[in-house]
Each structure stands twice: as C-alpha cells, then as structure tokens.
C-alpha cells in the first residue's frame, strides 16, 4: 500500500509542471535583491567640476569633467565668464581626456569667475573671486585637488582622484602622491618619509586606489599629499574621514524588508503557483478522466487522493522553505544578519498554511465542477478575489461598518477579514510576529490578532479543505 503511494508522490513532485513552478518560486524569491539595495552609488552621475587656475600674462583656466568613477567625459560644455571691469566669456567642450583649456588674454584686474558645466544630468556652476597669486602658480578653484570617486569594481569603496597642473599649467609629471592613515588624534599632516607612496602623476588627472586597511575605527582619518620632485614639503594636502573613503552602508532592518517581501511578493505569488500546481497535479487529471487510468492500478481512491494532495503540498512546501532560505541568504549578504529564527519559522508555517489551503481548495473544487475550463475559471476568480480585490472588499466593509480607512474600525475589519482569507494568512502572521502593519505600529491583540486565533485559523485552513476534498474523492465518485 505504502509503495504505490510513495511512488505517486515521487511522480507528482518530479513532474515537469511542478518543477517549473518550484523554479519560478525560487526565482521570485530572488526579487528580494532590489529591496536590499541601499543606493550608495549614483550611477551615471558626474563628479563635481574641477577647475585649476593660474595667471601668466592673462588668466588661464583648466577644467576637468568626469563621471562618478573619475573617468574623463568628453563633449561636456564648460563655460567660464570673467566678471570685472569688463566681462569676458568662453565656452569650450571637453576633449577626450575630459579637459578644457581656457585662456583670457585680458588685463590684470579684480575679477570674479563664474563657471558652468553643462552635463546630460544637469548643470553645475560656481562663482569665485579670482585670486591674485604670483604668476604661474597654480590654484584650484571651487573644488579641491583631491576628491573621492567611486571605485569601479567595488561600489562600497572610494578611490582618490587627483587633478593638478604644474607651474604655468604644465603636466605634473614630476609630482607624486602619498597617503597615510591616522587612527587616532591628534591628526597632523605628515612628512613625505612618514607617508606611503601611492603613485605618480602622469597626467593632469589621475585616479588612485589607496590600500586602506579594513576594520578601522570610526575616527580614522586618511591623509593625502602631493609632492613635487625632490621636495619634501607637500604642494597640496587633503584630509578625509574614513567614511568618505569607506562609506558605511545604511542599516537594513531585515525583518521589515522580509515582512514586506513575504507579504507583498511571496504571499501574492504562492497562492497563484499553488493553484496552477494543484490544477496540474490533480484537477486536470480528474476532470479529463486520466485519473481513472491510475485508479485501475493497485491503489485505492483514498490512497491516490492523499498521495496527490500530500505530494503537491510537499513540493510547494519545499519550494517555500527554499524560497525563504534564499531570501534569508540574500538579506544576510546585504545586511550582514540572518532573519530571527522564530520569525523565519513563523513565515514558513504561514506560507505552508497558504499552500495547504489553496491545494485543498483546488482539489476540492475539482470534485464539484464538470470541466477543466470551469475549474480554471473558478480557481483564477478565487485568486483574483482573495489576492487582488480583498483590499477593496475590506474598504467597502469598513464603510459599511461606519469606519474610515486607518481608523480602529478599519484596522479591525482588515485583520478580522484576514482570518477568512487564506491568501492573507501571512499578513496575520506578520502582524503578530512583528507587531506592526504597513509601517504603523499597532497592538495586534487589540484588533483581534492573537496567537491562539492565528494557530486555530491556520489549522482550519490547512485541514478543512483537505478533509472535504478527501470525503468527496472517496464518496462522491
């Protein structure tokens, strides 16, 4: 007796349709990934404009346009206006190195420089008094020589971008960059010998990846200094907190993300998958008479009905457990912590109740209707009402009870309605376990959500449709 039963279980679990549906459930569980994204990278963005300036028989500007990774961007329109006794404006498009060279052959005077960089993502502008440094001495305008950019290969890291020119705007090939990490105060600049060589400047613009050790405390600072050849005094220095180079990930509250995902995504798809799977493993075979070809083998009606039910339940329960496992792993990867064990078990139990309820309902329905079309139609209708339109039904119920959405009456109607709907069972579990709903803190017990009530409701939904189905399968045919 047991062998044919197990054999049918194996056959159902390994059927193509069930395997495809299980694979779909697992794929859906990967949809948690976007919910764990913490948007630390503004991909496609532009770094702030970098402008160097020096005087030498006129006014010279050198600008660099780059993306968030520090890669040069050509074709960017850059305008600089000299506002003084007379106004002068030049607009130059950056070359393949992201550079634009400006020369204003105008008399020395007090000027204000106004610049505007026009990028596909918008404009950025600055306005500064033009300093009167000694001729030929290069000065950075508006932006520092050192600036952090996103590491191309690891978005959680920042690299160091250096934009500089030698005297009179020459290539800074004689310059080198050093860095040092200071883990505790006092933070003072270092001498060249106290620092770690990072690289040399071959161009006006370079990006370096400083090997900053992991596990630094929050107060650590990183110093960068630019040295000209044979000079132990830094030409330019930059000081960064560790957060600027190793930004901390925003904290993810794993249970909140998981609760939203389980209720909103898995809780939505699991009933649909179960309906399709139940139709495929039992409803279709029963209504097309295919089951008779199995029933003529040495197996009882009860045995066949139970084997099909249990195997469908088992297949989707395994899928649910695997799916929750995948979600847990993704959350652990993204947030560094697994879901609390009791919460995970509660969610699995809630999803298994949904699977059992819908499996039982579809199996049961297949004994009440006469055609596959009708069974499919009713099943899909059931799904649409219980999953899609339940909110509308609650809204109307709330209005009938004289309450408003979000009011005590509204919340009470919502929670009580969940007891009557297996597709919303997970919401009850979530509400009870997390003590919250839709972001608003509530006390579930005051709305009728208690552990005994949930357990009883779960047992009823898991068992009642199955018992009725079994009765029909044995007695009615």
């Amino acid at each position: 007796m047991i062998r044919p039963f197990l054999y049918d279980v194996k056959k159902t679990i390994t059927s193509k349709t069930v395997l495809i549906l299980v694979a779909i459930i697992l794929l859906i569980s990967l949809a948690i990934i976007p919910f764990t994204s913490r948007s630390i990278v503004n991909t496609g963005g532009f770094s702030q404009p970098n402008v160097l300036f020096y005087r030498d028989g006129g006014y010279h500007f050198l600008s660099f346009s780059g993306n968030q990774y520090g890669d040069p961007v050509s074709g960017i329109s850059f305008s600089i206006s000299m506002i003084g006794p007379k106004n002068y404006t030049q607009t130059i498009v950056t070359n393949s190195s992201g550079l634009a060279f400006f020369t204003f052959s105008v008399p020395y005077a007090n000027y204000t420089a106004e610049g505007r960089e026009t990028t596909p993502n918008g404009d950025s502008s600055f306005s500064l008094s033009v300093p009167n440094y000694s001729p030929g001495v290069v000065q950075a305008l508006d932006s520092p020589v050192f600036s952090a950019v996103v590491d191309k290969h690891n978005a959680s890291k920042r690299d160091m971008q250096v934009f500089y020119a030698a005297t009179n705007g020459a290539l800074p090939t004689a310059y080198s960059v050093y860095f040092q990490v200071a883990t505790s105060p006092p933070f003072t600049s270092y001498t060249k010998s106290q620092m770690i060589f990072l690289g040399t400047m071959d161009n006006y613009h370079e990006v370096f990846d400083p090997p900053i050790p992991a596990g630094l405390n929050n107060t650590a600072q990183v110093f960068f200094e630019l040295f000209s050849q044979n000079n132990n005094t830094a030409t330019w220095t930059g000081e960064f907190s560790i957060f600027e180079l190793r930004p901390q990930q925003p904290t993810i509250v794993v249970t909140n993300v998981a609760a939203f995902f389980f209720s909103g995504v898995l809780g939505f798809f699991i009933p649909l998958m179960t309906i399709v799977g139940s139709y495929s493993s039992y409803g279709k075979d029963r209504l097309t008479g295919v089951l008779e070809s199995v029933l003529s083998r040495p197996i009882t009606r009860r045995g066949l009905a139970m084997s099909r039910f249990l195997s469908t339940l088992m297949a989707f329960s395994i899928a649910v457990i695997a799916s929750v496992g995948v979600v847990d792993l993704v959350l652990n990867y993204a947030a560094g912590s697994f879901l609390p064990q009791d919460y995970t078990l509660a969610i699995i139990a809630g999803l298994v109740v949904e699977v059992a309820a819908f499996t039982g309902l579809i199996f049961l329905l297949s004994h009440l209707v006469k055609s596959t079309g009708l069974l499919l139609g009713i099943s899909i209708g059931l799904f649409v009402v219980l999953d899609f339109f339940w909110g509308l039904i609650i809204f109307l119920l709330t209005l009938l009870l004289g309450g408003a959405q979000g009011s005590f009456v509204g919340l009470q109607a919502t929670y009580l309605s969940y007891y009557a709907n297996p597709a919303q069972f997970l919401n009850l579990v979530n509400a009870y376990v997390l003590q919250s709903s839709v972001g608003a803190f509530v006390s579930p017990s005051s709305y009728g959500v208690t552990l005994p009530a949930i357990v009883l409701d779960g047992i009823i939904w898991a068992v009642a449709p199955f018992i009725i189905f079994l009765y029909l399968a044995i007695k009615r045919d």
């Binding site: 056959k11 295919v290 003529s296 040495p298 197996i299």
Partner: protein, 248 residues
Amino acid sequence: MIDGHDITKEKPEASKSIGWVPEIPNFEPNAKAWPLMRYFAGFYGIDRADARRKSKDLLASVGLSGFENRKIRTYSQGMKKRFSLAVSLMSDPQNYLFDEVLNGLDPEGIHFFRELMRGQKRVNKAILLSSHILTEIENIADRIVFIHRGRVIKIVTREELAAYEGEKGVLRIVLQTASDDGVSYLRTLGGTVQVQGNEIILSDFRGDSSQVNSELVKKGVLVREIKFEKTGLEQYFFDLINRTDPHT
C-alpha cells in the same frame, strides 16, 4: 471478487489480479509511453531495472517498438489500445477485462487482439471481453454472458451455442419456377416462410436440407439452389431477448 479479493474492500490486491483495457483509453496525453509504463510499474512493486526492461519488452510485444518515446497524444486510437494492453500485461495478471476493445480498430488491430486473447487463453488466463461485435465473441469466447438492459439474461457455453446453431438456421431455396405446391410443403416444416418470386426463405429451420430437397423433387418441384445457413449468435441473441422481453 477477483481471485478471492473483494474489489471494494481489497482494491489494491484485487487490482493486481486484473488487467483492464478500456474502450477508450485515457492516459495523460503529454506523457511519453515508456516513462508512463515505468510509472505504472511502480504500482505493482516492480523495481526500477525490471520496470525498464519489462516496459520496453511489453511495448515491443504490442507492436509499439519505435514509439516508446512519443507522447500518448500523438497515438492513434488503436495505438492507445495497444499501449493500454501493454500496461494491463505489466503485472502478468490472471484475469483480463477487455471492455469493447475491438471498437474502432482496423482489421489488423482486431486480428491482433483476437490472437492475443487466444494466446492468453492458451496459458489459462481468464478474459472477460465485453463487445457488441457478436461474431467476434462467437469466434473467441468459451462462455457468453448476455446482458440486456443491465441484466444478465443468459449464460451459454460454446458447446451449448454450437448445439443451438447445429439444429437451427435459415434455409434458402431457389426454385426453377414459382410453385404453390413447394411453398405449401415448406410451410409444413414450421418456422417462418417468406416468398419472393421463385426464392423462398425458411427461417428457424430445424432439420435436414437434403431431405427437403428430395421431398420437393418428389412433388415435381424443380430446385435450382438450396442453401442452409446457421443462425449464429446474433440470431440467438434476438431470439433470447424476444423470449425475455417480447416488446423489444
């Protein structure tokens, strides 16, 4: 009861002892024959290796070699019946139930099933063949159960049927010319006489046709042709239901 097992109370045991081939086999249309055979083999406790071998052998024995990995929905009606037969042979049961298996089969298929049933008979297997094709039953069956309006009205053995056929039939006589004397004589023999010109058909005739011929000649009636045809199972059935239910 099947081999001592109550089909309602001991369904698995009873099912093991019977191989069923329905009139319209209805298998999972998207299943392939060989895997489906192996699936069914599992119900009989046949291990995997045996199931593979046996499935292949049985499919070959019913003429489905080369079609093992085709989906059932691509099979013709006859192929589905052959497949169903292969499945029913899986457990080598002592009993078979062939339900109108001959319906819709081509002559080759009918021949195949007829020979298969004879083969199974030879190895002492019991076959319950339900059919409306009485000539086939007449050719194969050892015992015939007549069911009319859901009720068993008669069970006859092959010997009883042969005896019935031996003494009763239709006598067809073609005279040289129509003759009232000849017709008058034939009416004395009992049965029903139909006259169509010089042809006379005497139904329910019991007797010796050569003696009828001699008597007609003695009466000066020239006989061009005389032929006796046994009544057959069909007529037997009609007679039977006329007796049990004259209003039919």
